[in-house]
Subunit: 496 residues, 2 copies
Amino acid sequence: MENKFLAYLKEIALLSEAGGLAEWDAQTGMPEEAAEYRAELSSYLAGQAFDKATNQTMIDFLTYFKNHPEELSEFGHSVFEKVKEEYDLNAKIPAEKYQKFSRLTSVAHSKWLEARKQKDYKLFKEVLEEIIAFEKEFIPLWRKDEATPYDVLLNQYEPGMTTAKLDLVFEQVKLGIIEIRKELAEKGTPPRTDFLKRYVPIPQQRKFVTQVASDLNYDFKRGRLDDTVHPFMLDLNRKDARITTRWDVNDFSMAALGVIHESGHGIYEQNISEKYDYTPLAGGVSMGIHESQSLFHEIIIGGSENFWSREFPVLQRLTGDVFEDIDLTTFYNGLKKTESSLIRVEADSLTYPLHIIIRYEIEKMIFNDNLDLNELPRIWNDKYEEYLGIRPENDLEGILQDVHWSGGSFGYFPSYALGYMYAAQLYHAMNQDIDVEEILASTDYRPITNWLTKNIHQFGSSKKPNQLIRDATGEELNPQYLIDYMRSLYFKVYGI
Amino acid sequence: MENKFLAYLKEIALLSEAGGLAEWDAQTGMPEEAAEYRAELSSYLAGQAFDKATNQTMIDFLTYFKNHPEELSEFGHSVFEKVKEEYDLNAKIPAEKYQKFSRLTSVAHSKWLEARKQKDYKLFKEVLEEIIAFEKEFIPLWRKDEATPYDVLLNQYEPGMTTAKLDLVFEQVKLGIIEIRKELAEKGTPPRTDFLKRYVPIPQQRKFVTQVASDLNYDFKRGRLDDTVHPFMLDLNRKDARITTRWDVNDFSMAALGVIHESGHGIYEQNISEKYDYTPLAGGVSMGIHESQSLFHEIIIGGSENFWSREFPVLQRLTGDVFEDIDLTTFYNGLKKTESSLIRVEADSLTYPLHIIIRYEIEKMIFNDNLDLNELPRIWNDKYEEYLGIRPENDLEGILQDVHWSGGSFGYFPSYALGYMYAAQLYHAMNQDIDVEEILASTDYRPITNWLTKNIHQFGSSKKPNQLIRDATGEELNPQYLIDYMRSLYFKVYGI
């Protein structure tokens, strides 16, 4: 019976894989006029996978193993638990309701685009209200024992995370960053950054980022790099985890750090144990843990002077005389300049968590305090002024900048900050076992990849995020590691 | 009920489309280590499509409409007929038997590769014998009213074609070509060809072939060009018909004529009427008709001096001074040089049909006369000597050169020659309506594309090949058009 169950799950996994390929192709090079036909294909594949995940056959399997748990192996049991969890999430919303919601989000996406064009939140407000109303209807259906409505949403992206915990953690991070920023402003010397805008042709950038991703042990025999408008990693299976990037000839660091980031996601998928293949335990466990891997690569590794002591000469060699007059420290310090900014995706690694905390606080107000949506832009702008000292001049550089809410993805934002805190905590734990900076100064980063594989990657979704972090680092999420890391890094860059 | 039937067929079509995308991706850029996972995906998708095409639901539909034909619209009826035809082909072989055969062909492919390496047919003979034994078992199951066993195979690629007909046609073509070759040898002057080997970098070739394909009205908004070892066209749907090519820096004509060929396949698919979408009537009707479109473009258009009067200057402009000293006629005559050769895929457009006729005669002997397979290489070599005046020195340049037999594709080869004869016949018919050469000398080839769409493309698989040719040209297949075409073209090139 277990084998039948696994074979059934494999069908779902294969349908999702086909859907993933259709999605990757649509983003990377599908002929432009094929979009409508592709929508038919994608929706058929998704529908088939969803149907198999919720139909009577699935219900029969779940009922059977609930009554005969002794027939499951240990492996089968952990698969069963995960399947049941996903089933509960999927099946509790009536299909008809869910379809209405899907249609609404696709309308909302257009409205969001239109509102951006007009830089006017009012054009988006009404549909946002409808989306929130749907979510508020769904929350009681999903709710198990979560303390507040927003906890329910949070849990979908980071199982086990709570607002009680996050409130404390984010407060600590916020105060830590504000304190660091104060000291940098009073005593620090901002680094030179002009050379970062020097012209680097895309073929040279491509060679460089491909080299760097390979050095980081992103395996191009089990992945590939393509160009897209929005960068992403998409894994079809553990031997096919593809990444994408965009390019700016006047800002090589965009593609360089972007590719390092996506490589981190890809390396995670490439190193999940084979035994989870074709089950819901294959694939990264949560958004937060996935971001911990991408941000470990982008920020911790990509923010290490030792790393650049190896890679900057490669960049210099590949770009002729472009960076001939720039020494390593000038280069590195320039990369790490910090400055208040209005747009989250352009933020540096010191101010970034503040952008997330603002969103977290607002989302919590929406779901736990029934915030009046007319107030959103004002609250948003006030918070930017309070935390970052700058105020958006219009809704496009404020409340309308992120796509997430138009898709109903509330509770997603904290993952970015969680990932960053996990990354710093993993960096600390890793340093107990190996000398990370020494390795980054060497020509072989495998000890780092191996450490991450041993402690994180291999487990796929078989451990919950908090368990994974506890096992890997010996303690619960602790934001102090991030604060210490940022303090020491930025004080050095700013010559304090 | 008809709508339910069509919805069911749409599922089969979508599964095939997903399989097509997986195949395209596997050929064009899938990470190399992902092959095994991809095999799982492709085989699942193919299995699902095959299951739906032969399961009880399908049988119920077929039975229902057999008993209630009055419930089918005219459109539904023609779909039903095609589905029934495919069902009969698929369902008459027991599934278990067919799986054995599939496994055998995959073994055979490896044996064929190994035999090629050793240039030794004996290493391939045994498995070839097994494949033929399977086919001989299948033939009685497939057979309806075909006159000979080989007719059954022929019909699978070119419905309605018979050996009785082909014997006459091929005899006429063979004698025609032999006669032309004799006259060229006696009275002609072979053109100069040295410049065809001049170095042209791939980016320049890519620009050129992309321009030419666009000029021919291959629509890049509904297609794309990629690099593969073996060129092909693969259509996911009428708005997504993709082509591929390979490149040789010392033979630009390989990619140029190859892309023109694949464009011809792609243009066919891009112009099939929308009304056949997601039914088995979408897509080209037969191998022979498909080749008629690719060869019309590659040989008729790509063999027209008027065409090159427009396109050769483009090539000259894109390649700097490479062809500066070559005039149009020298260029064109060089392209059209004819010469005996041992390898079919490298043959020129005069000798090509002889390669096909040799294979046809041998396949017929295998299935209708129970040829001793030990005799194959000798017979092959004798025929090359007799028809082309050259004899293979080993099995690699003889009997082992084609992949088809290792996959059990007997009856396929004649399609290539049929396509060529159809192309010449269509050229003749087209000239009754429009001045083809005048159009090729102009900057707008649309009248040619439109003529082909009106007479061939739009119908998809809704007309049988012979009906299509009859309606388009006013008569049955008539090889004389090809012979006349070749005679006049080659006499001009050889200055007779």
